[in-house]
């Protein structure tokens, strides 16, 4: 019996399903697409009733999906280190290329295809189903829904492929990668509409030949580049490092007396991609938002405040920074030392702040060059408290396992609701700000402040909550 590509893909998909079903329970996992559809339907209905243009809703959906694809593609940044730490004990198939005569790149292609199919079923199909209320309200034709699914799926695939390709360039030359990102950003700023015309979103707008070719060819070209450039083996299998832990820990003083922040930052800095992976992943989010903000006036009439919009989306993206900081951690590891969860989370907060805030503020500062300083200052004011809020709810709901949060339906539901509760009003404020700049600006800062305080309270409570769970032997996330 030979291992065909189809069988390999099937085995990876089955392994992925069983892994999630075992972690969260089959029913909880199976509920996930239904929940995504429900949230999408509620959001679409809300925006439609608020007289938001249907084109804006569909464009927003594609932007969200593009960001998701870009984020998923950054798995390439993790390289072999994280693959070993993340999946080593869980997926034998991914590591089959190290133990069985299977070409590693064949496994990688199957892995990426599996991810696209998986997200297609779990996220993209439910997101498209969530647009049904627009059809009921007569805003969208029913026959357009399958097309929206296809274009979002293609947008996701494009995002994954572009991200993997960029990562491949990045690990060889950061300068070249930066040059590519800069060129794309300038092209978008100068001719956003023309760039969009060759993406799957362009296919939805006007099915021209360029859009069809771009939709099919771009993911294939980027994917091929990404797989060709992906590095499976380390240059040095016996890496040494100068002792930095002691100095770093001493610098943080009593706030990190157990060395948790120092350890977490060293984990991120020394794993594949280094600290730059956090810069890179937030950079992708920043580019998509800039692209949207630049192209939006050509499509619809609204002009959201760039500062508030970028700050809100980057704050949501700061979830990724916490995820990087926990990637090489295990609650069982800390349980063997005289360290409470409270101390662990305190160290994580320090590391999160040191990693996330400079990156976010730098991107907001970069936004000043494109959108002027006035609203960006507003963004700088709301970004830190909003990030603290995202940190607080993530720590409270998911503890030291933030990546599991994404597929555990009740936890994801709670996380989504908590996120929407704050970020949605901020986005609405960003759109409404021209009506009363001072009042809405001050209101946004106040809301972000309150959210930050709530995030801080949740973070403080998370220590006791997870200590109790850890000692009961059930370290499972729950709302």
């Amino acid at each position: 019996m030979t291992l065909t590509n189809r069988r390999l893909l099937w085995l990876l998909a089955v392994e992925e399903y069983r892994s999630h079903a075992r972690l969260f329970g089959g029913r909880r996992f199976a509920l996930f697409p239904a929940f995504v559809a429900l949230v999408a339907a509620a959001s679409a209905t809300f925006f439609a009733l608020a007289a938001t243009d249907t084109g804006t809703i569909v464009a927003g959906l594609h932007a969200v999906v593009a960001v998701l694809g870009l984020q998923v593609g950054t798995v390439g940044l993790e390289g072999r280190d994280a693959l070993e730490d993340l999946f080593g004990e869980r997926t034998l198939l991914l590591f089959a290329s190290w133990t069985l005569p299977i070409e590693p790149k064949r496994v990688l292609v199957a892995f990426l295809l599996k991810d696209v199919l998986y997200y297609g079923v779990l996220f993209l199909l439910p997101l498209s189903v969530g647009l049904v209320p627009l059809a009921v309200l007569g805003e969208l034709s029913v026959v357009e829904l399958p097309l929206v699914f296809l274009t979002t799926a293609a947008t996701f695939a494009l995002g994954v492929a572009a991200s993997v390709a960029l990562v491949g360039v990045y690990v060889r030359s950061r300068l070249v990668a930066l040059g590519i990102v800069g060129t794309v950003a300038v092209a978008i700023a100068l001719a956003g509409q023309n760039v969009l015309a060759i993406t799957p979103y362009g296919l939805l707008e006007a099915p021209r030949t360029a859009a069809v070719v771009g939709t099919v060819a771009l993911p294939l070209v980027f994917g091929t580049i990404g797989v060709a450039l992906f590095e499976f083996d380390r240059d040095d299998p016996d890496r040494t490092a100068v002792d930095r832990f002691g100095a770093l820990s001493a610098r943080f003083g009593s706030y990190d007396s157990h060395g948790i922040a120092a350890k977490s930052l060293l984990d991120v800095a020394r794993s594949s991609g280094g600290l730059w992976k956090a810069v890179f992943s937030q950079g992708l989010v920043f580019i998509v938002i800039v692209m949207l903000l630049a192209a939006l006036p050509d499509v619809v009439r609204i002009r959201p405040s760039p500062g508030l919009t970028i700050a809100a989306v980057l704050a949501l993206g700061s979830f990724t920074a916490y995820n990087w900081l926990c990637q090489f951690d295990d609650s069982r590891f800390y349980a063997r030392y005289p360290v409470s969860h409270e101390a662990v989370f305190r160290g994580k907060l320090l590391a999160f702040s040191l990693l996330n805030l400079p990156i976010g503020v730098s991107y907001l500062a970069a936004g000043t060059a494109l959108f002027g300083s006035e609203t960006i200052l507003l963004g700088v004011a709301v970004f830190p408290p909003l990030s603290l809020y995202v940190f607080g709810i993530t720590v409270y709901f998911a503890g030291l396992r933030p990546s599991e949060l994404l597929f555990d339906t009740p936890v994801f539901a709670a996380f989504t609701a908590a996120t929407m509760l704050v970020l949605l009003p901020i986005v609405v404020a960003a759109i409404a700000i021209p009506l009363a700049p001072t009042a809405i600006g001050a209101g946004s800062v106040a809301l972000a402040g309150v959210a930050g305080a709530v995030g801080y309270v949740l973070y403080r409570r998370a220590g006791e909550r997870w200590e109790r769970r850890s000692r009961s032997g059930n370290y499972r996330s729950s709302p």
């Binding site: 730490d85 040494t240 350890k263 800095a269 590891f333 063997r336 850890s470």
Partner: protein
């Protein structure tokens, strides 16, 4: 004086009873072997005694501290070598010792000579500045053993200590255990390797399906004799090949 004492300690996972009414006493200067088949509840017992897990019933006292009420204090006083676990991937071995020391508030002056001692004892001095993720399985095990003893605790919990180690290092560790115990410290050693238990331990508790079935002193017993006793206690009928012997 008792270093470890439990009374009716019980831990359940849902319907599964992992530890059932465990009562035992281990005095200072003993090496207590907790011997049992896979899934007997050995690791769960260590997790409860070190405050990593809260029991469903019973009481315990370890190094004069109640691990149920004061888990952090307990872990500050003991050393733990986990069965499954590895050093943090992206710290070097030296940094890992610094981390372990920092969690216990140990100062650098005391730490540095101990790192050197352990690196010499277990022959990993040239690997001190290597990232733990790049260490071999055996080297990782050496680092884990060293971190459990680096603060010289009065009680050390050890889960399968000799896994992945070459025979020379195994012998050095066994000799060190003997010296450490003679200095008045206590070792609680969980294993399913009968010969190791016979060789190293001064007292043995045979455990199966969460219950302590028998306690004995293996002085003068060799591995085969202890194995015979182990199967008699745990259940020879499950081992047809041994039954034929």
């Amino acid at each position: 004086m008792a270093a470890i004492r439990t009374r009716d300690l019980t831990k359940r996972y849902g319907d599964v009873v992992a530890v059932e009414s465990l009562s035992l006493t281990v005095d200072d200067g003993e090496c207590y072997g907790f011997l049992g088949p896979n899934g007997a509840g050995k690791s769960t017992t260590i997790n409860v005694l070190t405050g990593q897990l809260a029991p469903d019933g019973g009481s315990a006292r370890v190094a004069d501290v109640d691990p149920i009420a004061r888990p952090i204090d307990t872990r500050a006083r003991v050393g733990i070598l986990p069965e499954s676990g590895r050093p943090p991937s992206f710290l070097t071995a030296r940094e890992y010792f610094e981390f372990a020391a920092a969690t216990r508030g140990m100062d650098d002056d005391r730490l540095e000579p101990r790192i050197r001692t352990w690196a010499d004892r277990l022959a990993f001095a040239e690997k001190l500045d290597t990232l733990c993720t790049d260490l071999s399985q055996g080297e990782r095990q050496k680092v884990l053993i060293a971190q459990a003893f680096i603060h010289e605790p009065r009680v050390v919990f050890i889960d399968e200590p000799l896994t992945n180690l070459d025979p020379i290092i195994q012998e050095r560790i066994k000799r060190f255990f003997e010296r450490y115990r003679r200095d008045g410290n206590t070792l609680f050693l969980s294993t399913h390797f009968v010969e190791t238990a016979a060789e190293v331990c001064t007292q043995i508790g045979i455990v199966s399906r969460g219950r302590l079935l028998e306690e004995l002193r293996p002085r003068g017993m060799d591995g085969d004799a202890l194995l015979e006793r182990f199967f008699e206690v745990v259940g020879r009928e499950d081992e047809p090949e041994l039954k034929r012997r």
